[in-house]
């Protein structure tokens, strides 16, 4: 499934579209950024509630396919700017990380 299909299938709100044709290979949930940096697999959809600009830096370093902000979180202005500047896919949803990950898993990720 591509980033674009993921967003459409699971009704994610698009903030920055990013690499829409990239394949989403797995899913990672985490809020402690130093941990995410070391553990998130490349090509995953990363679900988090953190919204500061470091989120974009970590997403780039870990080479994730896209970020999903869960539980209705809104990005800080600095995160939105950074995601746009670096072309990192940034999406959001009102659902919890658990509900999102469960839906992604059921959808074949």
């Amino acid at each position: 499934m591509t980033v674009e299909e993921l967003a459409q299938t699971f009704s994610l709100e698009c903030l920055v579209s990013g690499e829409i044709t990239r394949q989403v290979q797995s899913c990672y949930i985490g809020d402690l950024l130093s941990r995410v940096m070391g553990q998130a697999p490349a090509g995953c959809v990363w679900i988090t509630i953190m919204t500061n600009s470091n989120v974009c830096a970590v997403a780039t370093l870990a080479d994730v396919a896209c970020i999903v902000l869960a539980e209705g979180e809104q990005p800080d202005a600095a995160l939105l700017d950074a995601a746009m500047a670096h072309g990192v896919g940034l999406y959001r949803s009102d659902r919890s990380a658990y509900m999102l990950a469960a839906a992604f898993a059921a959808g074949g990720i």
């Binding site: 402690l32 950024l33 130093s34 940096m37 509630i49 953190m50 919204t51 500061n52 600009s53 470091n54 830096a57 970590v58 800080d76 600095a78």
Partner: protein, 192 residues
């Protein structure tokens, strides 16, 4: 907590609950560190309470003298490789010099450091909730300092005007916003 200013608000609320009449909040950005000192002249804590104040399992919520604020602040600080220290003088033993000092040192270049957040909004919220408590706030980066001193405001406004009045709060918010704009334009890397 997602913003450091929420920690400041929480610790300041502890001070207000402790009956403080003067609350001092000092932020100082120094190289890769943010030093935050919050001092009050409230009733203070006993040695026993102080030893357990950052332990979330110390006692039940209803009998706990402070909330989860200090354990969470400790987590925020320590996850950046920083340090938290708390000193307190209980009123019973120190009738004239009682109070609590919370000192946090954060590494702002650590990836897990949270943003400082909206400090003016935090101060306005504090003032609104506790208009009788005096607040001395300074935020220093290099030679530049953002300042709020409610004691000076009281001198100018007189005793009849509460600092919780909407006009006063609006003025404080815009004055702080202006000072922060000057700080941001000072050419230094300001952690916010």
């Amino acid at each position: 907590m997602k913003d450091f200013s929420l920690h400041i608000l929480d610790i300041a609320e502890n001070a207000a609950k402790a009956g403080a009449t003067l609350l001092t909040i000092r932020l100082k950005q120094q190289e890769n560190r943010l030093l935050c000192t919050i001092a009050d002249n409230g009733c203070g804590m006993s040695e026993t309470t102080l030893q357990h104040v950052t332990d979330p399992f110390y006692t039940t919520r209803t009998t706990r003298p402070v909330g989860m604020g200090l354990p969470l602040l400790r987590q925020t600080v320590e996850q950046t490789g920083g340090m938290l220290s708390i000193r307190s003088r209980p009123q019973q033993r120190y009738p004239k010099t009682h109070g609590t000092v919370v000192e946090a040192v954060c590494r702002i270049d650590h990836i897990d450091m949270i943003p400082l957040g909206d400090v003016p909004a935090t101060l306005v919220t504090l003032l609104q909730g506790h208009p009788a408590m005096d607040i001395l706030f300074t935020h220093t980066v290099g030679r530049q300092t953002v300042r709020l001193d409610t004691r000076q405001m009281r001198e100018v406004l007189g005793e009849d005007i509460s600092l919780g009045e909407p006009e006063v709060l609006t003025w404080v918010a815009s004055d702080l916003a202006q000072q922060y704009q000057v700080l941001r334009q000072s050419g230094q890397a300001v952690f916010l």
